[in-house]
Symmetry: C2
Subunit: 694 residues, 2 copies
C-alpha cells in the first residue's frame, strides 16, 4: 500500500506543478522591449541547454549500453539475485534517471525564463503580485523535482522490488546533475565575472545595463546555472537518498522478511509532498508586508506537518519511535546549519563586517580575510554533521546496537532532511527569478519603482539562497555518508558475508584504506580546481571580448549601436561545454581506477576521503563566496566610504573571486561526492569479483 501512496503523491505533485505552471504562463509578458529581451534570453538558454543535453544524452546512451553489457551482464553471469534472467536493469534505470534529471533541469530553466519576464511585469502591480508570480515559478520547480524523483523510484520499486536493480536511476540522475552543475556554473560565472569586471569596474556602467555586451549571456547564465543546475542537483540528492535508504533497508528486509524497511522511505517522501503542498499555500504577502516572513512561514508549516506525519507513520509502521528520532536529527540539522551560515555570511555579524573593514587596506587584505573566514566557517557545520551521523546511528541502532539499523538511521535522517526539499527549492528558485526580473526591468528601462519591488524580493532571495546552499551541502554530506554505508553493504553482500565480518578489512590500519583516504582528500581539490580554472578561462575570454567591443563598436557607450550579444553567449557556451569534460571524467574514472587497481577497501577509503575534504571545501567555498558578496553589499550601504571608494573597489575583487567559489566549484562538489558513491555501489559486485586482493 505504501508505494501506492507514494505513487499518488508524486502524481499529485506533478499535477500541481503543471497547474502552477499554467498560472504563471497565463500572466502577460509586458512591453515589446521586455518580450524582445525575454526572447533573447530564451534563445540563449535553449541553445545552451540544447547543446549541453545533446552532448550529454549521447554520452549517457553510450554509458547505459556499457552498463547493460558490462555491469548487468556481469551480474547475470555471476547469478546475482534479481538477475535470474538477463535484463539490463542498471543500463535502463541509469538512462531513465539521466533523462529525469535532465527533464528536471530543463523544466527549471523554462519556468525560470518564462517567470522572469512575467515577474517583472507583475511587479508593476506591486509586491503581492510579484511575489505570487515568482514564488509560483519556484513552486513548479520544487514540485517537479520531488515529484519526478519519487515517481521514478516508486515505479521502479513496484516493477523490480529490489533497490539494487535500480541504483542506476540514482547514478543517472547524479551524473546529469554533476554535468549540469559544472557546465551551468562555468557558464553563469564566466558571463557574470566578465560582465562585471569590464562593465561595472572598468567602464563604470551599472549592472544589467543593455550597453554591456555580456548582459544577455549573464541573464542566460542565471537561468542555466543557478536554476537548471540547482534543479538537477536537488532532484539527484532526493533520488539517491531515497535509493540509499532502500539499499540500507535491504539487509534489514532480508533479516526480517518485512518490506516495511524498503517502503518507509517512500512513505516519508509522500508525506513530505503533502506537507509541501499545504506549506506552499501559506506563502502570501499583503501589499507592504514582509516577504521574508511569508517564505519562512511556508517553510515552517511544511516542516511541522512533515514532522507530525513522520511521527504518525513511524509509530504505525514500527511500533517504535527510534527511527522518528533519527529523522528528527535531520530536521534539527537543517536549522543548525542555517544558523551558522547566517552568522558567517550575513553582514549583520562580525565575520562579514571584518571582511568589509579589511577592504580598506586594499584587495589583498580583503582576500586574506575572506579566505580565512571561509576556511573557518566550515568547522561548525562539520561538527553538526558529524554529531548528526553519530546521533542518527545511535538513536536508530542503539549504543552497542545493530549496525544495520544504525546505518539505516543515518539514511533516514538524510531522507528527513530532504523532506523539506520541495519547499526549499521553490524558495530558492524564486531567488534567481526575481533577480532576473530586476535585470529585465533594468534592461527594458521600466519605472524605477518596479526595480525597487524586485530588489525587495531579491534581498529575501539572497537570504534563502544562502539557506539553500547550506541545505544542499549538508544533505549531500549526509546522503553521501548513507551511500558510503550502502556501498560497504554491497561489498559485504558480494563477499557473501555480514558486514561485521568484513569490518577489519575496512580498518584504518590497512594501507589500501589509507591510500584511498589520502587520494579521496585530493580528489575534491583537483575537481574544484578544474571548475575554477574553466571559469577563469571563460571570464578571461569574456573580459577580452567585452573590452574589444567597447573599443571597436562606435557609439556603443552612448547606446546608439547595439553590442554583439551573441558572441558573448557563444564564449560562455563553448567554455562551459569544454570545461565540464575533464572534471566529469575524473569523477567517473577515479572510483573505477582505484576500485579495480587497489580493491574495494581502497575504494571505500576514497569515498570517505572525498566526503571528508569535500564537505570542508564546499562549505568554505559557499560561505566564503557569500561573505565576500555581502561584505561588498555592506560597503555599498555607505560604510567604509561606500560605493566608488577604494574599499569598495577592493571588495569587488573579493566578490569576483568568491563568485566561482560559491556558484561553480562549491555547488558542483555536492553531486560529485554522491556520483562517485553511486558508481561505486553499482560496480561493487564486479570489483569484488575481479580484483585480485579483494
Amino acid at each position: 500500500m505504501y508505494p501506492l501512496i507514494a505513487l499518488v503523491a508524486s502524481i499529485i505533485a506533478l499535477l500541481s506543478a503543471a497547474g502552477a505552471a499554467f498560472m504563471v504562463l497565463a500572466k502577460p509578458k509586458g512591453t515589446e522591449r521586455m518580450v524582445e529581451i525575454y526572447e533573447a534570453i530564451k534563445q540563449g538558454a535553449k541553445a545552451y541547454m540544447g547543446r549541453q543535453y545533446k552532448t550529454l544524452l549521447t554520452f549517457m546512451i553510450i554509458l547505459s549500453v556499457i552498463f547493460a553489457l558490462a555491469v548487468d551482464y556481469g551480474y547475470f553471469v555471476s547469478g546475482r539475485e534479481g538477475y535470474e534472467i538477463y535484463f539490463p536493469h542498471t543500463g535502463l534505470s541509469f538512462l531513465v534517471g539521466a533523462i529525469f534529471s535532465a527533464l528536471a533541469g530543463y523544466v527549471g530553466m523554462r519556468v525560470a525564463v518564462e517567470g522572469n519576464v512575467r515577474t517583472a511585469n507583475s511587479a508593476k502591480s506591486g509586491l503581492k503580485e510579484a511575489l505570487g508570480t515568482s514564488f509560483k515559478g519556484g513552486l513548479v520547480m520544487g514540485l517537479c523535482m520531488v515529484g519526478l524523483a519519487l515517481l521514478g523510484v516508486t515505479v521502479f520499486y513496484l516493477a523490480w522490488r529490489n533497490p539494487f536493480l535500480f541504483a542506476g536511476f540514482g547514478f543517472g540522475g547524479s551524473l546529469v546533475a554533476l554535468f549540469a552543475r559544472i557546465g551551468g556554473g562555468i557558464y553563469t560565472k564566466s558571463a557574470d565575472v566578465g560582465a562585471d569586471l569590464v562593465g561595472k569596474v572598468e567602464a563604470g556602467i551599472p549592472e544589467d545595463d543593455p550597453r554591456n555586451p555580456a548582459v544577455i549571456a549573464d541573464a542566460v547564465g542565471d537561468n542555466v546555472g543557478d536554476v537548471a543546475g540547482m534543479a538537477a542537483d536537488i532532484f539527484e540528492t532526493y533520488a539517491v537518498t531515497l535509493i540509499g535508504a532502500m539499499l540500507l533497508g535491504w539487509p534489514l528486509f532480508k533479516q526480517t522478511g518485512s518490506t516495511v524497511f524498503l517502503e518507509y522511505p517512500l512513505l516519508l517522501g509522500a508525506i513530505a509532498i503533502f506537507s509541501t503542498l499545504v506549506g506552499a499555500l501559506v506563502v502570501r504577502v499583503r501589499e507592504g508586508g514582509d516577504p521574508t516572513s511569508a517564505i519562512l512561514r511556508g517553510i515552517a508549516v511544511t516542516a511541522i506537518l512533515a514532522i507530525a506525519g513522520f511521527y504518525y507513520a513511524t509509530w504505525q509502521l514500527f511500533n517504535s519511535l527510534n527511527l522518528f528520532y533519527a529523522a528528527m536529527i535531520g530536521v534539527v540539522l537543517v536549522v543548525i546549519l542555517a544558523i551558522f551560515t547566517n552568522y558567517y555570511t550575513s553582514y549583520k555579524y562580525s565575520p562579514t563586517k571584518a571582511i568589509a573593514e579589511a577592504s580598506q587596506a586594499g584587495p589583498a587584505i580583503n582576500l586574506i580575510r575572506g579566505l580565512a573566514n571561509g576556511l573557518e566557517s566550515a568547522i561548525f557545520p562539520i561538527i553538526a554533521i558529524a554529531l548528526s551521523v553519530v546521533g542518527a546511528y545511535m538513536l536508530a541502532g542503539g549504543m552497542y546496537g545493530d549496525v544495520g539499523m544504525g546505518m539505516y538511521g543515518v539514511a533516514i535522517a538524510a531522507m528527513a532532511m530532504l523532506s523539506i526539499a520541495g519547499i526549499i527549492v521553490s524558495v530558492d528558485a524564486y531567488g534567481p527569478i526575481v533577480d532576473n526580473a530586476g535585470g529585465i526591468a533594468e534592461m527594458a528601462e521600466l519605472d524605477p519603482k518596479v526595480r525597487d519591488i524586485t530588489d525587495t524580493l531579491d534581498a529575501v532571495g539572497n537570504t534563502t539562497k544562502a539557506l539553500t546552499k547550506v541545505f544542499a551541502i549538508g544533505s549531500a554530506g549526509l546522503a553521501a555518508l548513507a551511500l558510503l554505508l550502502a556501498y560497504m553493504e554491497e561489498v559485504a553482500t558480494y563477499r557473501g558475508v555480514m558486514l561485521s565480518e568484513l569490518a577489519s578489512r575496512l580498518a584504518l590500519t590497512r594501507p589500501d584504506v589509507i591510500l584511498g583516504l589520502i587520494l579521496g582528500g585530493g580528489l575534491t581539490f583537483v575537481f574544484a580546481a578544474l571548475c575554477m580554472k574553466a571559469v577563469g578561462r571563460g571570464a578571461f575570454g569574456m573580459v577580452t571580448e567585452v573590452r574589444r567591443q567597447f573599443k571597436e563598436i562606435p557609439g556603443i557607450m552612448e547606446g546608439k549601436s547595439k553590442p554583439d550579444y551573441a558572441r558573448c553567449v557563444d564564449i560562455a557556451t563553448r567554455t562551459a561545454l569544454r570545461g565540464m569534460a575533464l572534471p566529469g571524467a575524473i569523477v567517473i574514472l577515479s572510483p573505477i581506477v582505484v576500485g579495480f587497481l587497489f580493491g574495494p577497501y581502497a575504494l571505500a577509503g576514497l569515498l570517505i576521503g572525498s566526503i571528508v575534504s569535500g564537505l570542508a571545501l564546499a562549505l568554505m567555498m559557499a560561505n566564503g563566496g557569500a561573505a565576500w558578496d555581502n561584505a561588498k553589499k555592506y560597503i555599498e550601504t555607505g560604510t567604509f566610504g561606500g560605493k566608488r571608494s577604494p574599499a569598495h573597489a577592493a571588495a569587488v575583487v573579493g566578490d569576483t573571486v568568491g563568485d566561482p567559489c560559491k556558484d561553480t566549484a562549491g555547488p558542483a562538489i555536492n553531486p560529485m561526492i554522491k556520483a562517485i558513491n553511486m558508481i561505486s555501489i553499482i560496480l561493487a559486485g564486479l570489483i569484488v569479483a575481479t580484483v585480485f586482493f579483494a
Copy 2:
C-alpha cells in the same frame, strides 16, 4: 653498539656545527651602517624570541607538570610497563623536547642574524666568499637540528630503553615547533605584507628601502619566521619520525626479542649525519660559477652516501633488503615531489605562466586562476604519497604480510626521507640568509654589485626554498601516518590485544570513526583559518601604521627624518604572540576532547581525517603561494607589460594573498598534523582506560 654510533654521530654533528659557527663569526660585519642595521635586526629578533620563549616556556613547564601528575601518574597506577616505580617519564622528556626545539629555533635565528650581515660583507669579495659564508650559516642550523634530535632520542633510549617512555620528547618538540611556525609565520607575513602594500604598491619605493617604517620588522620577520620557525619544524619532524619508528619497532621487539628494530632507526640517523658532513664539503663554487649546481651536488652526494650506507646497514642487521627497499621509497618520494613542485611553481612551465597571463584581466582573474592552480597542484604529490605508503608497507611487510612489519616499513620510509634533512635545512636556511644580506646591502646603500651577487644567490634560494617546503610537507605527511599507526598500536597495547584483533573497531563502518574523520577534515581548515586571520589583522595594523607615519612624519620620504621602526616591530610582535594562542589551543585540545568524549577509535578517525585534509590544504597553500610569487616575477621579466603595468599590479595582489598561504598557514600545518598525533600517542592509554565505550 648502534646507539653508541648514533651518540657519536650526533656529538660530531654538534661539534661541526659549532666549528662552522665560529668560522661564520670570525668574518667581519662590515661598515658602521651595516652594523647599525644588524643591531636593529638583532634587537628586534631577540626581543621577539625572548617574549615568545618566555610565554612558551611557562606554558611548557605547566604542561610538563600536568603530564607528570596526570599522565605519568596514571600510567604508574595502571602498572604500565616501564612504570614499575613512579617516574615522570613523559613530563621530563616533554620538557627536554620543548627546550631542544626552542634551542634549535634560537640557534637558527642567531646564526641567521649573524650570517646575514657577514654574507652582505663577504659579497663585496665575490660570489665564492658569499656562498661560503651563507652556506656555512645554513649548515650550522642543519647540523644542529639533526644533532640535537638524534642526541636527545639516543640518550633517552640508552637511559630508558622504551620509546613510549620518551614519546614526550617528540611532543615537546612538536608543540614548540607548532608555536614557532604559527608565531613566526604571523610575524613575518604581517610585516612583509604591510611593508609591501604601502611601501611598494602605494608609495612606490623599492623593497627594503630604509624609508619604509616596516623594513626592520620585515627583516626581523625573515629571521624569526622563515629561519627559526623552519628550524624548529625540521627538528620536530626528525625527532617524531625517529620516535614513531621506534614505537612501531616496539611490538616487533616484543615478538622477536631483538632490539635491532629499536636501534635501526638510530643507525639510519647516524649514517645520514656522516653523509651530510661529506655532502657539505662539496658545496663550493668558483667565481662566476653556478651556485645551483654546487648545492644540488651537495644534496646528491649526501643522498648517494646515505643510500649506500642504508644498504650496507640493512643487510648487516636483517640479512634481508626488504626494509632497504622501503627506505628507498622515501628517497624516491623526495625526488618525485620536487619535480611536481617545480612544475607547478616555476614560471618555466604553463601553470605559473597562466597565472601571469590571467593577471592582464585584473587581480580577480589572477586570484581565481591562482586558487585553481593551487587546488590542482595538490593531487600529484598526494598520489605519490599515497602510493609510497602502500609501497613501503608492502615492501616491508609483504602483500598479505605482517601488519607490524608493514607499518614499520612506512616509518622507515619516512626516516629515510629525513636522512637528507640535514643538508636540505642547510640549503634552505641559506636562502633567507642571502635574502636578508641583500636587504642589508640595500639599506646600507652598498655598491649595487654586492646586491647583484646576493640576488644571484637568492635566485638559487628560491628554488631550494620550494624544494624544502615540499620536503617538509611530504615528510610531515609520511611521518604523521607513521605516528597514526603508532597511535593505533598504542591503543592495541593498552587493550592488551594484537592490533589485528582491534581492526574491526577501526572500521569505516563505525559511526565514531566517521565522526572523527569528518571532524579531522574540518580541523585543519579552521587551524589554517586562524593563522590567516592573524596575518590579515597584523598586516592591516601594519598598513595603517605605515600610512600614518608617511603622513605624519615630515621629511620621511626625502630620507631626512627616520621612520619609527620600533612601532612596526611592536605591532608584528604583539599580533604574533596573540595570534598563536587559539590555533595552538585547538591543536592541543581537540584530540583530548574527541578522545575522551568519543573514544580512541573516533580519535584515530580525527587523526587521519586531519592528515587527509591537511596534506591537500598544505600543498595547495605552499604551491599556490609560490606560483603567485613567481607569476609576479615572470611579469617582472618584461612579459605582459612588465613592471608597473596593470598586469603587474594585479599579480602583486595575488602574491600578497599567497604570502600568508605559503609562509604562515601552509607550513604551520606540518607540525600541526604531527602534534595532534603525538599527544594522542601519549594519552592513548589513559583514553582507553577511562572512556566508557572504548
